[in-house]
Subunit: 338 residues, 2 copies
């Protein structure tokens, strides 16, 4: 099976002569068409000729916390796609417990003169971490953008999913199913997204009449680690106090919630309704498939790169946080209250 130009043209929805122009690095092809032709070559397994490469615009660092929660590979892939489309070579820096730190990565990226850095859920999101590292970068004039973790003191643009809106979506969905005793399963409160989810949850619970006041609402929040085990432990606690539904701060935590329900002899959703957060790869394939709050990963990544490139291009960019509206994806882990 050899790959012919017609196959590539058909796959990319364009003409053979356009494919030929792209392959020979000729001008006169719109960016999006060129991109579709390159993607078709890759998907069909046609080894790209060197001429298709385009100018190398430089390196951009992309710092993410770890790859074991699939939302981070999703962000990495989306940001890299957009960077590559603009000719930049993305360098992905991922962390792990005991591994290379964010600071060590920053040093390496600076040593190699990156044009800018995208931070996804980095130490900027940790209200207890020192932000000196970001101030240093700003002083050196390194363009950067912070994703999911607004740090008002850091002079850099921020892009976040609207956590408050996400929690409200989840709560409205559960209330419409008849749930009245709803808990929040969330990670360590020193992280900005955890604080925002908790604040929104407490506010909504009172506003919806599910708690008399904020102090009472807070008793429905259980804080733990952002992991499957964390979700399992918190949910076990909430089940013991008679909750019929939980809103989880990540899909990994939601998988833990499902496990806690099983361990306590409850079926999901009959005995417990579970809402996840992220809509990562796991959510659709989990059993039961998770109802979850989807982060608009592509739109957020697009905005992050645009903002970074504007800075690289010497533009002044706004430091007002851009909030992206999440959406609720209803699958099979939520049902009517027992």
């Amino acid at each position: 099976m050899r790959i012919r130009l017609t196959d590539i043209a058909e796959h990319a929805g364009t003409s053979i002569s356009t494919v030929s122009r792209v392959m020979n690095g000729k001008p006169g092809v719109a960016d999006d068409v060129r991109q579709r032709v390159l993607a078709a070559m890759d998907l069909l397994g046609y080894e790209r000729p060197k001429q298709t490469r385009g100018r190398a615009a430089g390196l951009v660092g992309l710092v993410v916390p770890e790859l074991s929660n699939p939302i981070f590979p999703a962000f990495a892939q989306a940001v890299e796609n957009v960077l590559a489309m603009h000719g930049y070579t993305p360098l992905l820096c991922t962390q792990s417990p005991g591994g290379t730190t964010e600071d060590a990565y920053i040093d390496a990226l600076i040593d190699h003169q990156v044009d800018g850095i995208v931070f996804v859920s980095g130490l900027h999101a940790d209200t207890r971490a020192h932000h000196g590292r970001y101030h240093d970068l700003a002083t050196r004039g390194v363009p950067m953008v912070l994703v999911n973790g607004y740090a008002p003191d850091v002079p850099a643009p921020s892009i976040s999913a609207d956590d408050a809106a996400g929690v409200e979506l989840a709560l409205r969905h559960l209330v419409s199913l008849g749930h009245r005793r709803i808990g929040l399963v969330v990670g360590q409160e020193r992280f900005v997204p955890a604080q925002r989810k908790t604040a929104a949850f407490v506010r909504c619970l009172v506003a919806m009449g599910l708690a008399g006041d904020e102090a009472e609402a807070r008793t429905h929040v259980v804080t733990s680690f952002y992991s499957l085990e964390g979700g399992q432990a918190s949910t076990t606690e909430l089940l013991a106090s008679g909750h019929t539904a939980v809103v989880c701060a990540s899909d990994m935590m939601a998988l833990g919630a499902v496990r806690a329900a099983s361990a306590a002899g409850h079926d999901v959703p009959r005995g417990l309704s579970v809402v996840g957060y992220d809509d990562s790869l796991l959510a659709a394939y989990a059993h039961p498939a998770l109802t979850t709050v989807r982060q608009p990963v592509d739109a957020m990544s697009q905005a992050a790169v645009s903002t970074l490139l504007a800075q690289i291009g010497g533009e002044r960019v706004s430091r007002t946080e851009l909030l992206f509206a999440p959406e609720l994806v209803a699958r099979h882990s939520t049902g009517t209250a027992p």
Copy 2:
């Protein structure tokens, strides 16, 4: 909640004085203990002081094909852990259709004088791709190691999962459950792992008396793309020809096989048994949880880094391929033949 030294010491299973030595960058702490202390700090959210950093040994490039199949983030994380433990800063280079190519990454890594490159399932695994890029690297004296895709012409050490052994494990498992009509769902045959799986499958089918000869055995192999959709299409074909079990070349393909069975009105495993390959994150959480062939990712990553570091240290390393034995993880997608 403030983190105390006693918490870190307890988590790392060591003494407070050892934690204090690590925090102050003092010598006299064994490497593995030091590592446990750093991991405990990270897990508990204790921001590591600069002194814990150790010497920066240099950059190592890690080239993986994409992040949407969770086996690649798993390899990336494992290789990065081992590199970080040896003081190297890993730079992860991931691809996507239409995105940055392997060649562009190689150029960027060379420009920035990496000490070596680990290639996971790169173009070395594609028998139709030109291997000139690897010969160039070898000529320049860049240490490298190839994971999962043995290329006999490339002068570099190779580390692979033993695909033939994996396929045999899967077949023995299915035969022990009474299956006689078993198909292989595999990706494009230009990739070394696909060729090896196909060859082993054909050989075993004949040896086990499930096919009269190799030509007949080949009729039970359906080749497609390495994706969920590919697995779904191939399995639909195999179901139509009366197969009761399929061995899939990846967990993503196995998820597609389950989907094909559902679409044809079959329950898994009652109507069709499905074996995946990789044991990526998805396998355990899928519904039904996938029986799959586990790649020994940690052992392979450890060996890849050791081999690379030996080269960086000026040692001559063997180019004989190191094959790692996979194991069968039996979960709920396989059952007795109908």
